[in-house]
Amino acid sequence: TYGCSDYTTADKTGSSKTEPQAELTKVIAVGSQWYGHIPTFVGIEKGFFKEAGFDLEWRFIGKSMDRLNAISSGEAQFASLGEIAMLSAMAHGNKRFYWVGNQDIAPGFEGLVGGPGIKTFADLKGKKIGFPFGSSVDITGRTLLKANGLVPGRDVELVNLEVGDVPAVLRAGNVDAALIWEPGFSQLKAVEGMTVLGMDTDTDIYKKFHTMTGPDVLILGKKWTDNDPARAKRFLTAYFKAIDFVKNNPEKTAEIVQGKYVQQDLELLTKNLKRFKWLGAADQAKVMTESGIYGQADYVTEILKNDIKAIPEKPDFRKWVNLEVIPSGSN
């Protein structure tokens, strides 16, 4: 079950620290089954956080905005989440978190899947498309539809779904097509009669920036960070250590998280992880720049404000960025 992390293995395998457990700093991280959280799982299982003096508790929260809210309330300290939710929260005035990095730019793991009988965008006319509103696939879906001349509300009907419900709902035929990311995406692709109509790699955003629609962002609680920036840096150091492990050992990683954290076939998971593009500590200096992800974020806020009208104004997201706590990448 989620959240029942087993620290005893970590203790046996690689803890070099000698302090008793009582001195560990309690940190709560929140996340879901999405690949972007895998470094956290690995950090827990391999004992990286414990080595750095953190007792990391992981809790399942399916939606990005829920994770961000958990951090804003002070309850949780660390999360990876979708850029879309972060930008939207910024636009609505949430100032209680820092954007401290971007651990993966992994396009090609989400897309629009058509059910039986839906082979092309033209087939979608008059049909129902389900996906979790407010997530990255919201943007992916809308840009793809726009590019193919379909107007939501007129040509197609959009339905809000819970992340975990998407595969089942499409398979049951309750919607005609669905948008979803991994591991649900592979799950659907594998079903007979399903057709991938489009992916995030087919969007303007990808063409312009070579990123997924809503790349993963790393978030730290503002108060927690400000209270002890050194601690935050120590924490991220451990995190990026995990990233490096994941990057360099996709097979081992898959074995560690499969079944316990990610419910996906080991082979498929391994294959996907080999494809997945991770960004380490050293990459951050490149990514967190105007020429890096900022331009992409500017472009997305434009879409959010003008096309979807989900945000009242474009937030100056740069004010939320805190690069002080990113460890200087060594490897």
């Binding site: 809210n69 929260a89 609505h92 949430n94 100032k95 407010g134 779904l161 419900d165 919607v175 989900a310």
Partner: protein
């Protein structure tokens, strides 16, 4: 004999308005003074502004949300009344029926509408039927229990009197049990109608693209706290309006009852 002040209706209205104004002013003040972060709790003025935005202009989504949710509530509620009232009457009249069905009912009754989401999606998908079903399951057992209760409370003396005047079993039910239970059935239904609203908010969590519940859930995804509050306040207002409507129905159906002006 009463030692209680008894306010006139207008006095109640004035004091109540003052209460409301104080509440809103404190809220607005707390946000403006910076005591509360506007992101965490937008002030009433901002909520009002958002409410106007959402209910005017090219796509006045709010009114459509209210309408759609209201239809879902009313259909699910009406279905539960259609099944629950006759079944409740039967259980109220027959001790055997009552003893027979009570355990099953008491298992179904405590289940929150929310807990029916998984099964209802499996059985009915994500269309309107599923929304109706969730409201229905959230209401049905309560309607049944309220009706059973109302039926059992009908003064047995009245049944005796009717039988003494020559009423047969069915006539007693038609002329005594039914009208005698009606006031309590109606007040039960009034309570259930409010429950139905809480159910529709559950139902609209998944597989919806319109409705007050949907409005709140998407607003949450977009971190639009103002819109969350607009959704909540719309629920309150709609429930209050429906309640007034229901009272009028009650008055029309029960002309023989004294209806207090205010409690």
């Amino acid at each position: 004999m009463k030692n209680k002040k008894n306010f006139e209706l207008w006095q109640v209205a004035v004091i109540g308005s003052v209460g409301l104004i104080v509440f809103l002013t404190v809220w607005e003040g707390a946000v403006r003074s910076g005591l509360i972060d506007a992101f965490f709790l937008p002030p009433p003025s901002a909520v009002l502004k958002r409410m106007i935005q959402l209910s005017t202009g090219t796509d006045a989504v709010l009114l459509r949300d209210i309408r759609v949710s209201a239809v879902r509530v009313l259909v699910g509620f009406a279905l539960s009344a259609l099944v629950g009232v006759p079944a409740g009457l039967l259980m109220g009249i027959s001790p055997t029926m009552r003893a027979f069905f009570n355990p099953v009912i008491s298992i179904i009754r405590p289940l929150p509408a929310l807990s029916w989401i998984p099964l209802s999606m499996l059985w009915l998908g994500i269309g309107e039927e599923q929304k109706y079903a969730i409201v229905f399951m959230g209401c049905f057992a309560s309607v049944l229990v309220y009706t059973t209760d109302a039926t059992m409370r009908v003064d047995p003396l009245l049944s005796l009197a009717a039988r003494n005047l020559g009423a047969k079993r069915l006539q007693v039910i038609r002329h005594v049990i039914l009208p005698g239970a009606l006031p309590n059935i109606l007040s039960g239904l009034k309570v259930v109608l409010a429950i139905a609203w809480t159910c529709v908010i559950s139902a609209e969590m998944v597989g919806a693209n319109v409705g007050l519940g949907f409005r709140i859930w998407t607003a949450k995804e977009w971190s639009d706290t103002g819109q969350v509050l607009v959704g909540m306040i719309s629920i309150s207002i709609t429930v209050l309006l429906l309640d007034i409507l229901f009272r009028l129905v009650e008055r029309a159906l029960l002309p023989w009852q004294k209806h207090g002006v205010h409690r």
